[in-house]
């Protein structure tokens, strides 16, 4: 309170000073009357009225600012403030009245009588003017333009009312005063019907509202009785003298009365408003769970069951979720778990019978034959799906101890919060998925970059025209190509790691490492392949293997050696006799035999290359490409293509074959890795 006065000291000071002036002048008048002649100086009446007028204007101004600053968004707190102010005023009034009665017979009664009268004026005016501005807050709640304009008119008419203090000097014509009052009544009536704020109170607040408003009405009437009727009893009452506050009295009393009526009539609709409020609260709490960094769907279910039971005033409740295709009941409230599962079985049966595909189900347990003989406390229940349009997450079940407990208006509330819960969970899941997908793609990109580094850049080899195409079915794959030259030989290896994707790609990288160690050792082919098999067998998982073709060309003689480890054959177009050789020497895939491998498992095929001869090395992705009717390309078609394209350059041969392949598959995506290497002798 002290803080309040300190804060508004300068707001309240002018009105208080004017009031002190009024009181002093009145006192001086009385003293002057008693001592006629002795005191020469006479203060005219209008000076008193002038200070009264200033007093009103200052209060009006201060009231406007203070209420605006102090009023909180909650309307009831403002009312609470005014009740306090009015009540205090009444007590002060009653006290001063009592004191003035004690001194009535005394000479000093003039002082006490006037003090009492002016305390009446100040408390009365403070109270009513503050009330005007408090009501202004309420009326202008959800403000509209006509309301604001009407308020400006009321402002003018109130201030005009203050001017009526000077009526006795100005003798304003009666009809103007009557017109003024009629106009004011019109404005007041218009403004008083605005009680929209009532709709935003819940039941408890409405009861409080009625109570406070009644108290205000009593305070208002007490003021009128204490101040005005006292004046009447003192034969001092002048209607015109009190004109200045009549609009305020009329307005505040009428509005109080209206509010009480509206509050009373609105009591029955409170529950609906409360539902909306709970709905908002539940939704905002669910949203907060989503924002948490560590999301747990159980938190959402907790909120759902809490608000579900709260608003439906349910005695029991639980949530059913399906986890790994298994039905699980969680958040079971006030109910035996085993019984809940039994009830749930019945409910699940109902869902399957349901023809109209509603997402909720209202039932009386005693009507459900399967539960008839069970001693359930639960008499009625409600079930609704917790689902979005795409996905069902579970069901919310509420139960009551009495029959027909479910009210239909609850349905929309429960379905809204259930849906909101489902949406929250779905959103979070989608978010998680997109994050992990992004991460996965990032990893793949790294792997792809890495693989591109692993695959050799086919550089030109003196005496040969060489070109290779490598394509992976996924981002990364298991095909591999390596060319290694030493003083004598060109070593070409084409390899295919069984399987596709990341696993194959990793083994491919390991293979590269092994080859890089083995190549410089300049081993004989059989020795090389056996060592490679040993190394591969150490690291490959038991159900995987690697196939390779290892072609070694002597640089000066063009004599070739080929060893094959389970790989597709090598094609050799001989320019001199225009024939294609298909070389498939005996050879077992790397990693197929891990312990007992020997020279016997391989054969070396030797042949001679000549000018314009073409060698084709490829992986099974080429010959296993399938047409629309699932026909495999096969090696014979590849041979045909080779014999028609042999005269082209290696690059052109590769792209012509690829073009033919696309035509064959009808540009279906080729779902295997494929690699094609063409080597032409220049």
């Amino acid at each position: 309170m002290r803080k309040f006065f300190r804060k508004y000291f300068f707001q309240l000071l002018p009105s208080f000073t004017s009031w002190v002036m009024m009181f002093s002048i009145q006192l001086y008048h009385e003293v002057y009357d008693l001592n006629k002649g002795k005191i020469l100086f006479h203060i005219p009446d209008y000076v008193y009225d002038f200070f009264h007028f200033l007093f009103l204007i200052f209060i009006y101004q201060a009231g406007k600012t203070i209420v605006k600053k102090e009023s909180k968004p909650k309307s009831l707190e403002v009312i609470w403030l005014i009740v306090g102010l009015g009540g205090t005023g009444i007590i002060i009034n009653a006290l001063s009245n009592w004191v003035s009665h004690i001194y009535m017979a005394n000479y000093s009664s003039i002082f006490w009588y006037n003090l009492d009268k002016h305390i009446g004026i100040i408390t009365n005016t403070y109270f009513f003017i503050t009330l005007v501005f408090v009501y202004r807050q309420l009326i202008l709640f959800r403000s509209t333009k006509p309301k604001q304009n009407a308020w400006i008119l009321l402002d003018i008419s109130i201030v005009f009312g203050f001017l009526l203090l000077f009526d006795k000097y100005l003798s304003i014509p009666q009809f103007i005063i009557i017109a003024y009052f009629l106009a004011s009544i019109g404005i007041v009536m218009y403004l008083s019907i605005h009680t929209e704020w009532v709709a935003y109170l819940n039941l408890k607040e409405k009861f409080l509202g009625i109570f406070f408003m009644s108290v205000i009405l009593i305070i208002q009437l007490s003021y009128l009785l204490l101040v005005d009727v006292k004046d009447v009893m003192n034969y001092d009452f002048d209607f015109a003298n009190n004109l200045h506050l009549n609009v305020i009295y009329f307005f505040t009393i009428l509005y109080t009365f209206f509010c009480i009526l509206v509050l009373a009539f609105n009591l029955p609709t409170s529950s609906l408003y409360e539902l909306r409020q709970l709905e908002r609260k539940a939704i905002s709490e669910i949203n907060q769970v989503i924002l948490k960094s560590k999301f747990d769907p159980n938190d959402v279910y907790k909120i759902l069951i809490h608000y579900g039971m709260l608003c439906a005033k349910a005695d029991f409740g639980w949530i059913q979720i399906s986890q790994n295709e298994e039905i699980k009941l969680i958040q079971i409230k006030n109910f035996n778990e085993n019984l809940a599962y039994e009830v749930h079985e019945v409910i699940n049966k109902y869902w399957s019978y349901q023809i109209d595909k509603k997402n909720f189900f209202i039932g009386d347990t005693n009507r459900l034959s399967l539960l008839k003989n069970k001693s359930l406390e639960m008499e009625s229940f409600f079930a609704t799906k917790v689902s979005t349009q795409d996905k069902e997450y579970g069901e919310l079940i509420l139960g009551w101890k009495h029959k027909n407990a479910f009210e239909l208006e609850l349905h929309s509330f429960l379905s809204i919060i259930s849906e909101q819960a489902a949406i929250a969970i779905e959103n979070k899941e989608l978010f998680k998925k997109s994050i992990s997908l992004e991460r996965y793609q990032e990893q793949l990109k790294i792997a792809k970059d890495f693989q591109e580094k692993v695959l050799p850049k086919i550089s030109s080899i003196e005496g040969f025209d060489i070109h290779a195409i490598n394509q992976e079915a996924d981002e990364i794959g298991g095909d591999y190509l390596e060319i290694y030259q030493d003083d004598e030989h060109i070593n070409i290896i084409i390899a295919d790691v069984a399987g596709k994707g990341t696993t194959a790609a990793f083994y491919m990288a390991e293979l590269k490492g092994m080859l890089q160690i083995l190549f410089p050792l300049k081993l004989e082919l059989l020795e090389f392949i056996k060592k490679l098999n040993f190394a591969v067998s150490q690291c490959l998982s038991p159900n995987l293997f690697i196939t390779i073709n290892f072609l070694r060309i002597h640089k000066s003689t063009f004599h070739c050696q080929l060893v094959r480890a389970g790989h597709t054959p090598v094609l050799h177009f001989s320019f001199s006799n225009q024939k294609i050789g298909e070389y498939q020497p005996k050879g077992i895939g790397l990693g197929v035999l891990r312990k007992s491998i020997s020279d016997k498992n391989f054969e070396i095929h030797e042949f001679q290359l000549q000018k314009n001869d073409v060698i084709l090395l490829f992986t099974d992705g080429i010959i296993e490409a399938r047409s629309e009717n699932k026909q495999e390309l096969g090696i014979d078609i590849l041979k045909e293509w080779l014999s028609s394209f042999y005269s082209l350059s290696s690059t052109e041969i590769n792209y012509s074959i690829l073009e033919q392949m696309m035509a064959f598959t009808n540009e279906n995506k080729i779902d295997d890795d494929y690699t094609l290497l063409t080597l032409k002798v220049q």
Binding site: A498, G499, N543, F545, A565, I588, G589, V592, K595, S596
Partner: protein, 112 residues
């Protein structure tokens, strides 16, 4: 893709039916592992109705060859279609697996 088993006195016939690719090869692997776990080391694999086998399928079969040999068991393949046989040969599986033309020939292996 389908795997059917037929138990006989001292061996089990496994019928591989349809196409075996990466996603279905796990079925063969499980079936064969089950037989081994139950002590059956003599296995006859009938490929009469096997239309296609991918490298993943071959890998699954391959992984059992050495294991069965080491435990003195016997795995015999019969009735391979030319295309399937070609795939076996390409990889060199014919070197390590017993492959016979027909069911009867496979059965005689186990009778001896």
């Amino acid at each position: 893709m389908n795997v059917q088993l037929n138990d006989f006195e001292n061996y089990t016939t496994v019928y591989l039916i349809g196409e075996i690719d990466a996603s279905t090869s796990i079925n063969i692997q499980n079936a064969l592992q089950n037989l081994l776990d139950n002590g059956q080391k003599n296995i006859h694999i009938n490929c009469e109705k096997l239309e296609y086998i991918s490298s993943a399928g071959l890998g699954a079969l391959m992984s059992f060859v050495e294991e069965i040999e080491n435990s003195n068991g016997l795995m015999v393949f019969s009735d391979l279609k030319p295309k399937v046989l070609n795939v076996f040969q390409l990889l060199g599986l014919d070197q390590i697996m017993k492959i016979v033309d027909n069911h009867q020939q496979a059965v005689t292996f186990f009778q001896n």
